[in-house]
Symmetry: C2
Subunit: 505 residues, 2 copies
């Protein structure tokens, strides 16, 4: 609501904003509608919107379009050459001078149902994280208020359908309690984020008129591990690489040929040791040349973060960290993560053989101003300098015989990072509104460690892009048993209502 | 036959022995019975004698006992506390002053049927190695002589049932052609070699009287890659190790936690780089302290070996070797082979996550006078010095938090190597008889790179132990599509006949 005197926080100022009066009404509405809110999330999770199910993606997009239309939005389903539709909604608020675009994605990561404790698309409420003493809750038969530590399990329950439900609920709450949007509101909900958003740029380009906004708010990602409401002002970029190293044409008895025929598993270990050290430092020369230094404001924001390393170490069961600079500072650097290794067999299936090949799956995280093409060029030049022969298809016999160390590289698409200005008027308005919703200063992250393709919005529209995460950090995002902690969804309803009604700059 | 003047070769002397006259009769017998010989091998391969099938092992032992009894042998089935029976046969030759023990194993490696081109236990004749232009042969309907380049495919067809069939056929040929054994003959056929012979020592101990012999001949392993008839005078020892390295308790989003939470796949690469270099040199301090130098005779034997590195490189499709000393010389060193790596996921299944653990499967090959306990002790001391905390069960939370680098080690049983004297009278007699069968000097290997537990026989009985390999080197031993080249079996019949009838010292 425009009538609320939101305290515009300058970065570094940590006075506690007052809880906005109208947001109290929103909270009251939320408390009276807990079962209906979970019911909406339950319905959306049951729509199987994963890349393996194009019809599930299409059905979800159609359903979301209807949900927006029912709320008075103009809605389009936008298509690129391929891929699921982008849901675009628009609502013009009388008298508003700015437009806020709310981004989220309705697709979820692929699932491996055998790893789940329950069907990923038949969501379940449980009394907490999976573990000892956990109870399944028949929430439909339970009288609210629900315990805010309960968790709702299902693919997409957190990432990202929770953001969509928070948006819809905040809208309903404002309408029901007499609130009015202070900005024009647009919605962009895409269905390919978990596949790297390969067609989003084309949609943005083809429909840039429809996309015009003064601010993009990104409803994706978890809040800080301290469970404090959080905003982020950027995200790392991403670039994946699948490497295959070749040994002998057939598995060789390692008694007869070990120490003589080259072992691709040992070569994979050499490759990794060439690329990164045990503290996660990347050893490719010049890899950091394009890294833009943090600003003073960004450093200060990191220094103000609650310390979570101790509690996270206990949560994750780890006895050391890579590097000594702390969690968030470490995610300001580029990273080279080993996602997987495969060679030969282990355990009871291990045969006394030299494997035929070894696969290494790598995930680069980029920071401003690195670009995927430059990272690729530097990495390839380094590997060549280390004696590797790079191939892009399986080598034939002549190639194998001509080169001592052959590596097949298959690069993923990838995209660059974004770290946006935390001091623009719009940024200050968002920080203030979020603080008004939380009743306290929110946690400010200059850049999220994970990747979302928000550089696209910055690149094309040159307006502030700010992350509005809502899920618990321990939501098992991208893994089995994805879950949403109810307290996070309740907080999110207030946060979204504040972004609709309290933004003023 | 004693009447044959076998040329006793001193090591280093390479004059060509004459083809023994009675062995020509054996060859003629073999040529007239090719279908029956393959029929015997076919019958034995169909008996499913693998560790997963105790009843198949028992049935094979019973069948082998009957085959020996039918040939006039005294036969016992010997049992340890556990495990399949050891088939022991004995035949006393009138006037013989020495006894030769013929060892082989009737069990085969485990099979992964999906990797085979045909059922491992329904053997097939094919026109050669698997590849372009290969034909399946209906050998039962084909009139011999069979093409000696044909191959007979099935689990155990080479390793080791071919040795058993060569023994039985040589015996039959001698009997049919009026030949007489020049030595007393004993047979020990065990059923647990592919599992590391865990109960063989107990059987040898409990029945050492029955085992008494002046010479052990080991019917296992391939001939030299030059396809020349071969004898070996030792075998490397073996010791396996399964290592598991621990990362976070659950897979963590590598965007949020990469560069901070330790990556077990990267730690596995460090482990391997700590243990061995790219030339296969083992980096554990003092690892080579117990390595007994080669004798001059052993060095000379290696120097005389046909050069096969070039043709093998082409066969295996490899553009380099580990080390520069050549294939056989490299197998005189201890080895540390990486059999397998597993961590996270690769390729289309790769998730952007820090894996929870990494597994490394290692196979040590030992040389005289190394022992498994010493290797284990040195390796563990080195890993501790490198900062690893060694555990033997999965670490609990307190252990995880207390130690930065935790590694779970699971050692296999293992056994030491043997390199026996190539200059004893019995050794000279075996070399001479093998040369008589081949019609040329045979290839002499001081030690086979692969492992067979022949140290047991040397250790207990203190008599010469000599390897009598027969299979083609490219028999896919231990892998899918195991096969025996017919020429190798035909050569083996003559070799076994020579060991029965031409040994004299």
């Amino acid at each position: 609501m425009r009538g609320i005197a939101a305290t515009v926080l300058s970065i570094g100022l940590v006075c506690a904003p007052a809880r906005a009066a109208d947001l109290a009404k929103v909270e009251s509405y939320r408390a009276q509608h807990e079962a209906a809110i979970i019911g909406q999330l339950d319905e959306l999770v049951r729509l199987k919107s994963v890349a393996a199910s194009p019809e599930g993606l299409a059905a979800t997009a159609a359903r979301l379009a209807n949900l927006l239309k029912a709320r008075g939005f103009d809605v389009s389903l936008l298509h690129a050459e391929k891929g699921p539709p982008v849901v675009l909604g628009s609502y013009k608020s009388p008298g508003a001078k700015h437009t806020a675009m709310f981004y989220a994605h309705y697709d979820g990561q692929p699932v491996t149902p055998s790893q789940w404790s329950s069907d990923p698309f038949s969501p379940l409420m449980r009394s907490g994280m999976l573990g000892d003493g956990l109870q399944t809750i028949d929430w439909k038969k339970t009288k609210p208020p629900f315990n805010p530590e309960w968790r709702f399990f299902g693919r997409g329950a957190a990432d990202d359908k929770s953001s969509i439900v928070a948006f819809l609920t905040a809208w309903d709450a404002l309408k029901a309690t007499g609130g009015k949007p202070s900005v024009n509101i647009k919605v962009l909900w895409e269905g390919e984020e978990e596949s790297g958003s390969p067609h989003l740029e084309q949609v943005l380009k083809n429909h840039s008129d429809l996309m015009r906004a003064d601010l993009w708010l990104i409803g994706d990602g978890p809040v800080h591990q301290s469970r404090s409401p959080t905003l982020y002002f950027g995200a790392r970029g991403s670039l994946s690489l699948e490497a295959t190293i070749y040994g002998p044409l057939r598995a060789l008895h390692d008694g007869h040929y070990g120490n003589w025929a080259p072992n691709p598993a040992a070569m994979a270990a050499e490759l990794i040791a060439q690329l990164r050290d045990s503290e996660g430092r990347i050893l490719v020369p010049g890899f950091g040349d394009d890294v833009r230094p943090l600003t003073d404001a960004e450093r200060a924001a990191i220094a103000r973060l609650p310390k979570v390393e101790g509690s996270l170490s206990r949560e994750f069961g780890i006895g050391r960290s890579e590097g000594k600079e702390g969690l968030t500072a470490s995610t300001m650097r580029p990273a080279l993560n080993i996602r997987g290794l495969r060679s030969g067999q282990v355990g009871s299936e291990a045969a006394n053989a030299i494997p035929v090949d070894a696969s290494v799956s790598i995930d680069f995280r980029l920071v401003p101003d690195q670009t995927p093409p430059k990272v690729r060029t530097k990495t390839e030049a380094f590997l060549k300098a280390k004696g590797w022969t790079l191939v892009t298809e399986a080598p034939d016999l002549a190639t194998r015989l001509a080169h001592p160390r052959i590596i097949h590289l298959k690069w993923g698409g990838g995209y660059p990072a974004l770290r946006s200005d935390m001091t623009t008027p719009a940024a200050k308005a968002v920080i203030a509104a979020a603080g008004a919703a939380a009743g306290k200063p929110v946690t400010i992250l200059p850049m999220m460690g994970a990747s979302v393709p928000i550089y696209l919005f910055d690149d094309r529209f040159k307006v502030p892009v700010i992350g509005l995460p809502i899920t618990n950090h321990d939501n098992n995002q991208h893994a089995a048993n994805e879950n949403l902690r109810l307290r996070n969804l309740w907080d999110a309803v207030g946060l979204y209502a504040a972004m609709m009604s309290n933004l003023s700059w």
